[in-house]
Amino acid sequence: MFPFLIRRFFQSIPTLLLASVLIFFVISLAPGDFLTPARLNPGISEQQLANLSASFGLDKPAYVQYFYWMRNMIFHGDFGLSFQYTQPVLPVIWPRIVNSVYLVLLNLVFFYAIAIPIGVYGAVRQNSFGDKAINVVLYFLLGFPSFFLFLIVIYLILNIRNATGWDIPLGGMTSGNYDQLSSLGQFWDVLRHLLIPALVLAVTDAAGLTRVIRGLMLEVMRSDYIRTARAKGVSESSAIWKHTFRNAILPIVAGIGGLLPAAISGAGFVEVVYAYPGITPMLLTAITASDLYLIAGFTVISTILLIIGNALSDILLAVVDPRIKVG
């Protein structure tokens, strides 16, 4: 295991280097920079623009900026300075990442809680009416962009609110009186805000995993050892959950590593539509504002997590499947 980790570590260096070069230069080569909007301000003098340019390091060529950035990252663990916030990137993005993690984790719980039973049901009752009906609905939802579906959901909630007077949250992460609530009240307040986006996202994404589980289950169910188990008189639920399901999910375990970067990358446009203070809205603003290091710093962090996640899922796979060894 230890040599495996060492090897992975050295393999990750060129990957990270390439990723950082790519992301840095893609952003810097785009026309204009963070100060472009300021150039349209009739009140800002050229002297002031030069001051700002120098203080952000934008007066130097892009490759010099890149080396400074790399040096600070490697030797000081400093991912750069956000131009908009004039603060180091990590403390700026950290609270947003934490918010996103809450939403993504709850979403994952719902996602697996919905996708696994439906996938297994689809395999056990293959081509039954229920199987087909669920598939149609899920595929229909999968075809919708999630943010658009979410707009429709918000419209429905608004109507329910108007009709019943229930206080269902329409967006955000906390209510206006959050600071006055007890800690249990605060927990419930956040959970209440998270439920709907997490559930909607889970339902729309469920089709993919459901399909995969259904296919894998069917394949395993037809194998000889399951027939043998059934012939031995193993109960139906044991045959399905213990013998079939455990073998069927192996390819899914291999993909778990991807969840680590996914958890911090946020829930995408749903965060924007739901006015959720996650990382996505912040990144979108950063991209429009050409906030170079905020975007580049965040990308490096998620690349590192992707590499760690992949190593983790390889190890996990070895734990679940005795045929695989790391080393």
């Binding site: 204009g32 472009t36 003098s45 001051n51 006015a275 203070p277």
Partner: protein, 587 residues
Amino acid sequence: MKKALLLALAMTATTSMAAPFIYPAAWTAEQNTANKRGGEFRDFIISDFKTSNPFTSAEADSIPITMEAGAGLFIQDPRNDEFIPKMAAGPAVVSNNNKRFVVKIRPDMKFSDGQAITAEDWITTWKIHTDDKVGSNSYDSFFINDKPVTIKKIDNLTLQFDFPSQSSTALATMSFTPWPDHVFGKAYKAGGAEAVKKLWGLGTNASEIVSPGMWVLESYRAGERAVFKKNTNFGAWNTDSKGNALPYLDKYSYRVVADQNAGLAAYLAGQIDTFGVRNADDLAQIKKAIDGGNLKAYLKANVSPQAQSSWITFNWNKASDPAKQTLFRDVRFRRAMSHIANRQAMIQLALGGLGTENYFSVYPIFKSQIDAGIAAGAPRYQYDLSQATKLLAQLGYTKKNAQGYLTGKDGKVLEFNMATNAGNTTREQLGRIFTDEAKKVGVKVNFTPIDFNTLVGQLTSKGENRPFDAILLGLANGTNTWPFGVNVVPCGTNLHSFNNPTDGKCATSQEQLMTKLFYQGQAELNTAKRLAIGAQIMKAEGELQPVIYLVGNNYHVTFNSRVSGEFPATLMDGYYESRNVALTFIK
């Protein structure tokens, strides 16, 4: 008897010492006769706050700008644009040919943490703003034509400002907010600019943040909201006309929304108290909600023009295409272009009927300057296609080809490229209306929206061969004291967009005249004389037509009926906006 007299004397002495600043009763449409107190004004902000640090903050809506409300030596009275003493104990004593101002500071003022506000706070704030390593947004305001304004502390309560030359905006320059020396001065002495920049980030605990103004940060939740509570020490030197401490409100809060549409939705749902109406569509939605009984709100459309304008600029520096350069430099061509601009159609079609025609670099909201210019004979080349045809004929464009476009003697079609920033639908519409009208007289305009950053790069480029024909864009910002842009009017500046050669020299006598008049007006303290100088600039500018001004949006006011204390309707406009928060209360 003697004792009583002494007591009376002592009382008058203390009251005169600590006489508060009284917010004029005329600044509110509704007096707070029931003496309502408390409550929260709920505002909104797009995207998020960036910092609490007043020296690194660059946004118009920011935490420091909210906190500092009401803190400054002078404040401009929306009734007559005069600067009246606010933190200053009285008017400034002027000497040295109007270049030296000695200001007594009001005694007994305190920061929100209870520390006294003294001259030292102004000195420290000025020093930090003018340190180019800090990169403060206020840096420019302490320089007049690159020469610094200097500030000296005479004693704890007296400041002396020395200006390098006379300045019409001196009082505005002096009215910057003093930030606490015991926070920033300490850091600055210990660690210089870097130490100052590290202070008061968004992660800083709200209890560590200190304010000289009306509000102080109470809590901030990243990407969600910021809540400000009233600074009780502010009420000690600020009262209404009946002597009640201000502000009336307990809290001022901002909800963070993703964009203007989300802000409108929150306003319609009654979750926020005000909204910045952009266009006819917003107005219609608010009107519908009010009429339908879903929203109780005040709504007044077309209160005034906004301090902004859209325009088309033609590039005079096109060495690669001498024919075009000659054309763009010909005043008759540019006047013809102004005659082509159908400003009424632009207002009706692109702005939904809610706009104002522009003919000068001065925004129409600065009415006294516009009136002075027109009285002085500044010309306006209004929409008139036949005049345009006549002017183009003088340039030799008399024949039209099979497609209906004018051709010159060499058979070349009269055409140019025009760009605006992609994604700005209003500007794209303005450009299309202009293109359609141009086609009617036979001018071919190749109109393409391009990336904003590329466009700004082209516009602000310098040299003999700049990379564009014509650009349609807009400008905003400016003061009502001297409404000409320091970066726009003088030759060689960044936004002197039509002519910007390497050496920055003027190409015409009118530009030279305008540059000279700009500095003259900037230094003129007498309002009437300044207006007259401005009028001369407008006259030269109108005749030269270096930039074709088109239209600007109007300013509309709406707020939830639960809040009161707004300006009387006559005081509301796009410059002073709709209320002074100190006098705002919840009904």
